[in-house]
Structures are given as C-alpha cells and as structure tokens.
Amino acid sequence: MKLPPKNLVCLWEGEKLIKIVKRDQPSRAIFFLTPVLAIFLTLVAGGLIFYILGFKPFEALKFFFIVPIADMYGFSELLLKATPLCLIAIGLSFCFKSNNWNIGAEGQLTFGAIVSGGVALLFYNQEGFYILPIVLLAGAVGGMLYASIPAILKTYFNTNEILVSLMLVYVSKLILDYLVVGPWSNPEGFNFPETRQFSESARLPLLFEGLRIHAGIFLALAAVIISWFIFYKTYLGFQMKVSGFSLKTARYAGYKGKKMIILVFLISGACAGLAGVGEITGPIGQLHREVSPDYGFTAIIVAFLGRLHPVGIIFASLVVAITYLGAETAQIFMQIPKYTGQVFQGMILFFLLASDYLLFFKFKFIGSKK
C-alpha cells in the first residue's frame, strides 16, 4: 500500500482519507453551534465520571440537570443563580472582546457588595424610596473603583492585568472578612460573622410570594439590551472589536487605546459590583462572609460559552446556573460531592475551547483510495 502524503491523516486505513484543512474564514454557523456541542460532550464526560465514581450515569445526570428545575421553585432558583452570572458575563464580554483579561470579577463583585453594604448599613432602620437607588449606585461605583486598579496599572504601569485582578480577589475577600467579623458585625449578633439586616427600603424587592427571585433580574436584562446596543450599533462597539482583533490596527486607526482599556474595565467592574449588590440586598439582606460562590470566576465560562454575544450569554448563564443547583441536589439525593459542579464548569470550557478547532479547520473527505 502506498503511504499517504504527509499532510493527509489516514483515519480508515487504505479505505478513506480525511484531510484536515484550514478554513479560509471561521465558519459562522459553527461559531454558534460549538457551544451546544460542548454542552453535549460535557454531559457525556460527566456521565462517564459518575460511572467511574460508582453512580448510575443517567440517574445522576437526571438529578444533576433535570430534577433541580422540575418545579416552579427550582426554576426561580435557576433564574436567581443565572442573574449574577449573566450580569457579570455581560460586563466581562466588554473586556474580552477588546482583549483585556479581567479575571478578577469575583473581587469586583465582593468590593461592590462591601461598598453597597456599607451604604445600606448607613440607612439602617430608615425607610425611603431613594435608598435603594443609592445602594445600587454605591455597588456599581465600588465595582468600578476596584476594577480601575488593574486598568490603571495596565495602562500607565504596563502591569499584567491577569495577575493584578486576580490578586485583588484575595484582598477583597479578606477586607470583607475583616469588616463582617470586626467593625461592621451585628452588635446583637452573638459574634456571628454577619452585619445587621438592611432596612426594607435598601433591598431589591422579591418578585413573587414564596420565591427568592428578586428584581435584580431586571438589572441583568437591562445590561443585556444595553450591551447589545453598544456592541452592534455604536462606534464604540466597533472600536472595541477592532482593538480586540489587532491592537496595532486600532492604534493605526487612531483609537484611544488607553481610554478604551479603562472604559471596558469600568463597565465590567460596574456589572460585577451590581451583581454583588443583588447578592446581598436580594434574598439575604445583610453582608456576610461568603457573598458569592465564585460567581465571578464562573462568569468567565459563561461569557465564553455565550460567545461574548449578549443573547448567547443569557442562554449560557442558564446552562451554567444549572451546575450550581445540580451540584446541590445531587449532593442531597445521591451523596455526589458538590464540587462536581466545578468539575462540570471546567469541562464545559475545555470542550468549548477544543471544539473551536472546528471553527478554523475542517475535515475534508477525499474519497476512497485503494
């Protein structure tokens, strides 16, 4: 048998030859299909992991992905978890589109929660329609302030934004810990690490009796609409896209690179900060040690899975939110460790990145050869 030339990958020996060819242009259809493929592959791999751990794969997957959202309460919980993910991911998509690696959204969320929590405590035992807007604004400003640190260090001191934004996550959690244990802890709270309950006026209203879903969801939806408008209908969105593709081109076109970097960081900081406000003024109504189960990190996956597209991010946030709920349900009903959620999140991103290969390369069948 004649050996195939070097660039041919022989998949069925002697029969059919498949060649891997680089596409001239990334395929648009595949761009939006690969996330679905990635989710499917994650389910398969997840089933396999469950099998290895000694669970029935289909039953485990059912408890993980279907049981948690089978009733109204479960569905509202899904929206509750998807809200911060969606909001943060929308903000991050501004950064990622323009090639700025802000991976410290968790810190910006925490700092937003700290600032807004502090303001809400100032209005302790006071009522008034003006309180909630001030609290929301405080959260956004807090997130922006915190995001401005890596942005300014990147633009004026040439410092790597990945490391700085990440280090700040640890710092923000320690600040929060200090505040809720120390100066802000509830004087009547028997030394529990939490603050006083915020007054009713400082809280995001719950939407339905008996469910925990709150008005924060409208913030997320507003962010989706505004970001869609900015991305696709404004000059700013165009500039962002160009700087994402090539900084040199952007500079050549005369776009203000530094301003852009700071702007996208501020936007994503504001979104993360607002997500932080939602976490503390929604169902909980006080500051405590763990304001977020790593929403800020998970939102990175959501942003990629949603293809940095506002509508895609909505779907992605719902899918990824299930991993949070599923992990809890699976732990209760099947004693599956709750960290499986994180494993699933990591796998989704792995598979998504891997299936991106299909974007740039295609398999070409070149008939059978004897």
Binding site: I162, V181, G346
Partner: protein, 308 residues
Amino acid sequence: MDINFIGLILASIMASAVPLILASCGELITERSGVLNLGVEGMMIIGAISGFALMTVTGNLFIAVIGAMLAGLLISSIFAFLTQTLITNHVATGLALTIFGIGISAMIGKNFVGIPGKEFPVLFDGLKDTIPFLGPILFGHSVVFYFAFALPFLTNFFLKKTKIGLIVRAVGDSPVSASNQGINVKLVRYSCILYGGAMCGLAGAYLSMIYTPQWIENMTGGRGWIALALVVFSTWNPIKILFGAMIFGGLTIIQFHMQAIGVRIPVQFLSALPYIITIIVLVVISRDSRKIRLSTPSSLGKSFYKDN
C-alpha cells in the same frame, strides 16, 4: 534573640519558599518555550491531593511523590493537547485547567479530610546543632527541600549551557525561525508544558505531605498565582526566582510571628500582605516596559500553527 533563633526563622522562611520555587521554575521553562500556562494553581492542587491520597493509600512516600508529579503531568497534558494540537487560547485554557483542577481535587479529597499525614523523613537531622546559626538552615530538611534550592541553578544551567535549553529558548523567542531550522516546535512545547505540570505537582505534594501534612480543601490558597507572578518578577531568570520566593516566604512567616508577638494589626491585613506586595512588586518591575520586552519570551502566549 540569639543567633540560633534567627537561623530557625530563616529556615522556616526557606521551607515556605519551597513550593513557590518549584512551581515557578516549572512554569518558567514552560513560558520560556512560549507557552503561558495559567493553570499553575490547578496543577498544584491536583499534585497536593494526589500526593496525599497516594501516601494514605499505599503508605509509600516515594510512590506518593512520584505519583503527585505524574498527576501534575497528566493534568497538564490536557492543557498541552488543547493549546498545541487544537490551538486554543492559552489564557482561557489555563483558567479552565485551574477551575477543573480545584473541582477534581475537592472531589477526590472528600474522603481524605481530617486524616493525619505521615512524617516525612529529613536528612542530616543530627548535624542540626553542630553549627550555630547555619545548622538549622543547612540540615534537617526533606529531600524535596534540597532539590528545590538546587533547582533554580539547574534550570539556569539547562537554559544557558545546554543545547536543549537553547532550543527551548529559540522556540519561545521565535517559533517560526526555530521551525525553519528543523526544530519540532510542537514537541518542544509539549515537553515544556508537561515538565511544568510535573513541577507544579511536586510543589503541591510538598504542601500536603511535608509543609502541612494533611489535606485541606483549596489548600494551595493562591500560591499558584503568586508563583506565576514570581516568573514575571524574575524577568524569566531562574536565579531571581530564588530571591523572589524567599521574599514571599518571608512575608508568610513574618505574618505568623507578628500575630504571635501580638502586633495590633488585623489578621486579615497581614494575610492580604503577600497579595498586595505581589501587586506592588509587579508594578515596580513592569514599569520599565523596555526591560520587560527584552526579557519576555517574544512568542509568550501566542499559538503556533504550522501548515504542513
């Protein structure tokens, strides 16, 4: 404060620098080949749980240490396959590796929480008291400790004096020219990623088996990220990693001692110190953009695809 006490403090600083040195030196080789692997934290935690689990199950320390390195290597092979064969983005893939690693380690580690670790044998313990000051610094440490302090010099020698080291640097600085010289860029990068993974696995095993012999969820606590920062801090020079790691080790130890002598600073502030100092150091180092540009491997974080 007598001179022996200072020696003891120095020795404890060195011990806390060990995981940073191991992980940074591994990551340095990876980055020198042009690959930015942000999964250090994930690979370390996988090494930590694998080492501890193997130690508990087999009772053999040698198997545990080697197993932890293999586990780090194995998990980094996912990263290698994705970034080199499927040409994915380095930053995103590294993040996925960290998230995945933390999840998997917690899953495996569920049954190992609360189990006491084994004592790891130390070398030359008897010589500790023979020399004042230097005694506790030089003697009575584990074999991993000695290896860690030799590693920066070995790495330096490897990169500067050996042919393979030259190839690694060539691939990192210009994969296209290296490829034209007939060097298999993919193979070199694969090897460097796997080596980095093994070193991070060893760093994790040191934490869970020697430094604090027990398994605690998320026990690497950001050390992987500090190791990444150390590589930048060192401007990709292995010898400087030694100094950087000592500074950060020192910060951790001083924090304990300040708490012990009752300095009235909130403990959270002291715990935040290493992270804040990392940021400050990064700013100081990176401000000189010319120096950074000269020492950074030119193709760092960029994928290389050869149309064959």
